[in-house]
Symmetry: C2
Subunit: 344 residues, 2 copies
């Protein structure tokens, strides 16, 4: 066999399995068998070595698109990303889920379909022929979108968020639970006239609305005399908080649910600067149990959110992929529990 010793800028084109075959002096089929460790066929050890060596020498890397085209399916799990950045809570959850899925031999891919929603987004995703799609509710994937994805071969379509979508499995993250927990806590602390901070940032509405709804529903359901809920828009910015604080006394509120701990911090600071005593004048409760809440004075009461383990959800996704026949299920995956500290 003639070895060409030159280390020159190698063939400028990308090496294919045919190149490996040529260099190893075998057929493309044999290359495929060797590199995939196909157990149905036994290849002699010397041949294996020659193939591996040739592959290494050429820097051969298989072509995923060609492979999955031939195979007729892929193991790609598509997770469309929304433009609004998720907090540490969801980041951790997503990381865990990703890790667990890759342990199950799925290729997890986040695809930024910026600007597209609904059916358009679904079509863009479908072009990649993923075996499963985990779509955040923010993508507004409708029933039609689900159909598009399924027709394109997706075995499992999950939505993550507060709403169900017809035809898709749902990992229901019902923000109303958060509002409910906050409401019950404030009511049990004797508060009746309750404010509900609503972030003015546009993307957050999808999350804040259910929380406020849950708060309102729980307050109404308590049937307590004089109990009421007042929505208070607030931008994540000091001036906005100061303006709200300036008219705080006139609102006559004795408790407030602040959407999350960051908005709670913002509000609490402004109220304190205004001379309003917390929790005496107004009780404050946040959400998400961020580290910063424990560092505030008074320490911030909060709603701790429990998300399920990524392992379990990965197994669920895997189950649906392997047996796509079943009816779409909805899984309640968000637990909420009030944590009492000093601000309420």
């Amino acid at each position: 066999m003639v070895q060409i010793p030159n280390q020159q800028p190698a063939p400028r084109s990308v090496p294919t399995s045919a190149d490996v075959a040529r260099l190893a002096g075998v057929s493309r089929a044999t290359v495929s068998y060797v590199l995939n460790n196909t157990s149905a066929v036994r290849i002699s050890e010397p041949t294996r070595r020659r193939v591996h060596e040739a592959a290494r020498e050429l820097g051969y890397v298989p072509h995923a698109a060609a492979r999955s085209l031939r195979a007729g399916h892929s193991r790609m799990v598509l997770m469309p990303t929304s433009e609004i950045p998720m907090g540490p809570l969801f980041s951790r959850f997503f990381n865990e889920l990703q890790w667990a899925l890759s342990r199950l031999d799925y290729t997890v891919v986040q695809y930024a379909s910026l600007g597209l929603t609904g059916e358009d987004a679904a079509r863009a995703w479908a072009e990649l022929r993923p075996v499963a799609v985990l779509a955040p509710d923010t993508s507004a994937l409708g029933p039609r979108g689900v159909t598009v994805l399924k027709r394109s071969g997706a075995k499992a379509v999950f939505t993550l968020g507060p709403h169900r979508v017809e035809g898709a499995h749902a990992l229901l993250m019902d923000g109303r639970r958060v509002g409910e927990a906050a409401a019950l806590h404030l009511l049990s602390r004797g508060r009746r006239r309750i404010g509900a901070i609503v972030p003015e940032e546009p993307g957050l509405e999808l999350f804040s609305r259910p929380r406020v709804e849950g708060l309102r529903a729980a307050v109404d359901a308590a049937h307590l005399a004089g109990a009421s809920v007042m929505e208070l828009p607030l931008a994540h910015e000091e001036g906005s908080a100061a303006r709200l604080a300036a008219r705080w006394r006139s609102l006559g509120l004795d408790g407030v649910f602040a959407y999350n701990d960051e908005y709670a911090m913002l509000l609490m600071r402004a109220l304190q600067d205004e001379g309003i005593a917390i929790p005496e004048d107004t009780a404050v409760i946040g959400s998400d149990d961020l580290m910063l809440g424990r560092l505030l004075r008074p320490r911030l009461s909060t709603v701790r959110i429990e998300l399920p383990s990524g392992r379990g959800l990965a197994a669920l996704v895997d189950r649906v992929v392997r047996d796509p026949g079943g009816e779409p299920e909805a899984h309640d995956v968000l637990g909420a529990e009030a944590v009492h500290r000093e601000s309420s």
Copy 2:
């Protein structure tokens, strides 16, 4: 040649362009022409309509893998994600970059190659045959990894992080700038014995090390009598901060750089609980200019980090993709500027 009678049991198969062609009563070529608006060929209006209708009726979505296989190239930009979640600063930067790239008609994909680093990671990425790769430094892509990617057809390989990698373009985010800015600020405020908080969380070392190095270098370079730097490990957790605060007086420090605003908040709280006056006894400066710093009392001095516009970087990536010949360039993309508030 014997035609095998076509297999009817093809219940819910994914529609292909052939199916569209059959339904529309035209050839696959015509379908391709119509759906891609190929300008080189003119198709009659009635035919166009029939094709579009058939495509819609079948829910046809083109197969990206087949397309790019045939085309011999794709417009996929791969951004491997690291497991450590990025803060709001980088999230925004990434979102902007993604958006800008998709405006340039690239398909941005984040791929979680969890657990893989260096050449192994590069091979996994190369299987997708991306036209460009933007790899965070955390992936430890070495020069060999860069070679693997280029051989697989990647026209542009960029690293994002504190280090350069041979053969790749670099978006240098030199954390030393942050430490330098902090050092100069503290020194100018008359502080000499300076502490440097080093997060104990493993993933953060890659970011904290350069910051501390920059701090140390700037303090040394100032040649001031008695100026010194002491590294202080701290976990992102109250107990750790309390322990550090308990021995604070014995350390004899009059200034401290706290890695970022969150650690600064953690430390400041613990110091205040210990009765240490800020900034009188010890000046504190954080980094990243998070909202929370402005809400603390005293207001937290910080280092504001400037990241370049996503638009400009997207254009840069595009330029390199179109003209891959040039020498790899390093772009310093991180600006740091101390912001004086009340804690220093």
